[in-house]
Amino acid sequence: MRPIRRQRLYLIIVMLLGIGTAVAFTLKAFNDNLMFFFSPSDVVMGKAPARQAFRLGGMVVDGSVERPGDDLLVRFKLTDYGKDVAVEYTGILPDLFREGQGVVTKGRLRPDGVFVAEEVLAKHDENYMPPEVAGSLKKETVAGRPASEEK
């Protein structure tokens, strides 16, 4: 009976080794940026794919949204508080799309460095509060970064 118990012990050790390896690889994966989207800094530094469509996420820069014509074309800038990227989009923007708001866009980079979005999705943050509270919060943090954008 003893060899069987010993064998079971070996198997458990092998199993733990396997789990350990798995954890190590997972941690490694999270250290190497395992992202399905890119930040404006990545784009400016040339880390984003040139030929392919990808997701670009960031905050809409205050005062950067402009509608040059009567059609649905919108131009705005996205930032991650490091670098900015100009974005063009033709279509209807979601309700939550505002300046200073986080958005995720999907599209391709044009050779001139402008990101042509096929889709714009507005991200809402995890804060929920009545408007009055939000207003008073804004007044308090007017000098620093907005409270909701901790990144």
């Binding site: 064998q7 079971r8 199993m15 789990i19 994966a29 190497d32 990808f54």
Partner: protein, 233 residues
């Protein structure tokens, strides 16, 4: 005298080796069946250009996903073979009643299954990738993802087959059980090939796949063994 004792007490590793060899011999004696999942893989992939149109750019962007989905389905269709024939002729009972840990024996059977159905995909996939216009840079990554990913498919699939082997109509249920568990592999593998085609680093995705493989190797044989016990009771 001591040697005689050693000869008499055969080790679990020996059982693993014998079972692996037995399954490979059995597969070899039914060669025609080995080719089936491979042919399925090839045919499914050739269907896509015919179905969605042969625009090179479209095909190229779809290639990683198409190849991986086809690999997934091919692996799934061949899963039943791991335990079915052993179940029908009573060999499975003998495995469960052997003096060795069933999880090790399960691992041997899965290894044989992978060698027969997973490994050939690795050889054929680059050729099909060429047909779909996948950039040459991504070829290596494609093979690596298949090398890391297909064993996971066999290992996780073994649990599903073990759960359904006693059922008369296990096939459809099997896909319902196994495919959701395959999704993470599909996501990371096809994403890795996709990124490689765009010339981007893929170490993160490959590490994830390696983690899946380590986890599946360490854990999957246990529930599969337990499931076999339940299916046979």
């Amino acid at each position: 005298m001591k040697q005689v004792v050693c000869m008499k007490r055969r080790s679990t590793l020996n059982a693993f080796y014998f079972l692996l060899k037995r399954d490979l011999i059995l597969n070899f004696r039914r060669r025609a069946e080995i080719a089936n999942p491979l042919l399925f893989f090839v045919i499914v992939i050739t269907l896509f250009p015919l179905g969605v149109g042969a625009k090179p750019q479209l095909l190229q962007s779809m290639a990683p996903g198409v190849i991986w989905v086809a690999a997934l389905l091919a692996a799934m269709l061949s899963l039943d073979r791991i335990f079915r024939s052993d179940f029908e002729d009573g060999s499975l009972e003998q495995l469960l009643l052997s003096a060795h840990p069933v999880s090790v024996l399960v691992l041997a059977k899965v290894a044989a299954h992978w060698l027969v159905t997973g490994l050939p995909l690795l050889v054929v996939a680059p050729l099909l990738a060429v047909l779909l216009g996948l950039p040459v840079d991504a070829m290596g990554v494609l093979v690596v993802t298949l090398l890391l990913g297909t064993p996971v498919l066999s290992l996780v699939g073994a649990i599903g087959v073990a759960l359904t082997v006693g059922l008369r109509r296990g096939g459809i249920i099997l896909s319902l059980l196994v495919l959701p568990l395959y999704i993470p592999v599909l996501i990371f593998a096809s994403n890795a090939v996709d990124m490689a085609a765009g010339g981007l680093p893929v170490t993160a995705q490959l590490s994830m796949l390696a983690a899946f493989l380590a986890l599946a190797l360490a854990l999957a044989p246990w529930p599969a063994a337990a499931a076999l016990r339940i299916s046979l009771s």
